[in-house]
Amino acid sequence: MKFFKILWKVLLIGAAVYAALFAVFYFDLDGKLLFRKVEPWLVKHYDKMERRDPLSVGYNIEKK
């Protein structure tokens, strides 16, 4: 009996998760999150990153 209760709970949680994921999918919540939050945040990070100045790379004309 206990087993069935647990199974039922698991099934219920599974169904809830599945329904939530479907809602994410259907209402494009993944896209909205990535577009409005994640991408701007990452872009800010990349914009302020310290980068090597490529023009400081030497140009050895004898190099083969």
């Binding site: 479907f22 991408e39 023009l55």
Partner: protein, 542 residues
């Protein structure tokens, strides 16, 4: 509180509503344009394709691919390495997270077998992409404070236009890494915002704006210090154009590692050039032996080429179905991207898995005469090089106008198998294969190649041409007048689609749609299948 309009409620066609719920709205009644949010191209909600196809999309495409992406990351190097790469490289973080939206754009409106077959192509491309960037990170000195590990010593860097097949003899010990394929080429399709940084970067150090933007972006990656340091030497090529040759000098400067140039002859019809080209491949192999100390492995080369030949043979079967039946279940964008990716990158297990799945679907379509694109009004051949930021235009064009893109020029490159019974013959075939690379097979070696359009139109039974007009491609710009003359003389409906390859700022996607709309209404005098797709603003979208 809003009042319920009883009259409207009475007028509701419940049967139709139920039918639309179960099967999805039929093409012609759909209003896909109404699903978009203004400017961003995000969906108010994703398309309801009927119960079966919506659940297929949710379970077998959306959910499956998210799970598989995580799986691929675990398989090819793990989440820590992925996170490090994501934090370090703009092209990864900005581009590849919204990959499912790339699926959405390419697969919009598809149903049944076409949805399944096309999605498998996308899945394969995602898998190889993850495999590639994880290979880069495994070897990347930038992620290890400049230290070079064993993977770095076992990687071969090469320009993305060098066909991966020339490295097969070392495939068991060395990983070949096309330098710009993931940081540049694939990014443009998934998220076109990223590449603009690289174009601007190279212009900021003095490059004028008119050279090919692909080569600009490829050089810009180095200027922005956004290229992994993942191999002790590099191999480059003169393909596809003057810009690629010229931008190699920039890459050489900033990479500053030993370089082997493996140019291919321009006049590839000339039987005299074949030996020269084959010798270049042999010289490359000697160079790799010198650099790695690892000997050339003929058995491995044979084994991999035979696997690759299998892929080519299936591609021919696909072309046969596409050309001669209405039952081809792969849409224009999936066909184009998968083919160019697979043939340029070279052997990978996922291509075979995918082909097996697609074969099943295609055979089902042929046997059961399933027409996946029933509202096709025109069979379109797309010619020249495509706008990378709008490769899914063909999905839009079918949904909006019934323009079904059957085949495109890039798919028709590399149109051969390679003999494996004798090394000399193999090398000669590999030389030919390399000469027939994208933007080569039809673009150089004499104008007559670019005019192979007419025979391919006939072969694929197409009645319309989507003529890509890459505004910064000197080779194609140098031939526009003769195309105009021929279109008129042959009475062919051709739509010129201006674009600047990866750079959406030159010609926007909305402008491309407007040009097609104008042609379809004024010249063809046709009505759209989905008027909601005629005009919408996706200027900020990925």
């Amino acid at each position: 509180m809003k009042k319920i309009d009883l009259k409207k409620l009475k007028d509701l066609d419940v049967k139709k509503l139920a039918r639309d719920f179960v099967y999805g709205k039929p093409h012609g009644e759909r209003r896909l344009g109404e699903l978009y949010e203004d400017k961003t191209g995000l969906y108010k909600h994703r398309e309801w394709r009927g119960v079966k196809d919506t659940m297929y999309y949710f379970n077998n495409i959306w959910l499956y691919n998210y799970v598989m992406m995580v799986g691929d990351i675990m398989k090819f190097g793990g989440p820590v390495l992925f996170a490090k790469g994501l934090w370090r490289y703009r092209w990864l973080g900005q581009t590849y997270l919204p990959v499912l939206h790339w699926f959405d754009r390419g697969l919009e409106g598809l149903r049944g077998e076409a949805l399944r077959a096309s999605a498998w192509h996308y899945r394969a491309m995602v898998c190889v992409t993850i495999n590639q960037f994880m290979n880069m990170f495994k070897a990347d000195g930038n992620l290890r404070n400049g230290e070079h590990n064993d993977a770095w010593h076992h990687s071969i860097y090469h320009k993305e236009t060098v066909w991966g097949g020339v490295f097969y003899p070392w495939a068991d010990k060395y990983t070949h890494i096309p330098m710009e394929m993931i940081p540049y080429f694939v990014t443009c399709h998934v998220n076109n915002h990223t590449v603009l940084n690289y174009i601007d970067a190279v212009q900021s150090i003095g490059l004028p704006g008119d050279p090919c933007p692909m080569c600009q972006a490829e050089a810009g990656l180095f200027v922005l210090d956004d290229m992994p340091d993942c191999a002790p030497f590099m191999v480059t090529s003169n393909e596809a154009c003057d810009g690629s040759v010229a931008s190699t000098a920039v890459q050489d400067w900033f990479m500053d590692i030993p370089l082997f140039a493996m140019p291919q002859p321009m006049q590839f019809d000339d039987p005299l050039v074949q030996e020269h080209c084959a010798n270049e491949i042999r010289e490359l192999w000697r160079f790799i032996e010198e650099q790695t100390g690892a000997p050339f492995n003929w058995d491995l080369l044979k084994e991999y080429l035979e696997k690759q030949n299998e892929l080519q043979r299936f591609e021919w079967e696909k072309w046969d179905v596409a050309a001669n039946t209405d039952y081809y279940p792969i849409n224009g964008v999936a066909q184009a991207l998968y083919r160019i990716y697979q043939s340029q990158y070279g052997e990978h297990y996922i291509w075979h898995d995918t082909d097996k799945r697609v074969r099943k679907i295609m055979e089902k379509c042929v046997e059961q005469r399933i027409n996946s694109f029933p509202l096709t009004r025109h069979r379109v051949i797309a010619w020249s090089c495509a706008p990378l930021y709008y490769s899914n235009w063909c999905t839009w064009a079918y949904n909006c106008w019934g323009l079904n893109t059957i085949i495109n020029m890039d798919s028709l490159m590399f149109d051969m198998t390679i003999r494996t019974d004798d090394l000399d013959e193999t090398v000669m075939d590999m030389a030919r294969y390399h000469e027939w690379a994208p933007m080569r097979r039809m673009a150089v070696g004499g104008m007559h190649h670019i005019f192979e359009l007419w025979e391919n139109m006939e072969k694929f039974h197409c009645d319309m041409v989507m003529m890509y007009d890459q505004l910064q491609c000197k080779g194609m710009q140098g031939v526009v007048g003769l195309f105009e003359d021929e279109f008129r003389a042959r009475n062919i409906h051709a739509i010129w689609m201006p674009h600047a390859l990866p750079d959406k700022r030159t010609v926007s996607r909305a402008e491309i749609r407007r040009i097609i709309n104008d042609y379809m209404t004024t010249v063809m005098q046709e009505e759209p299948l989905d008027p909601s797709l005629l005009d919408f603003d996706d200027s900020e979208s990925w």
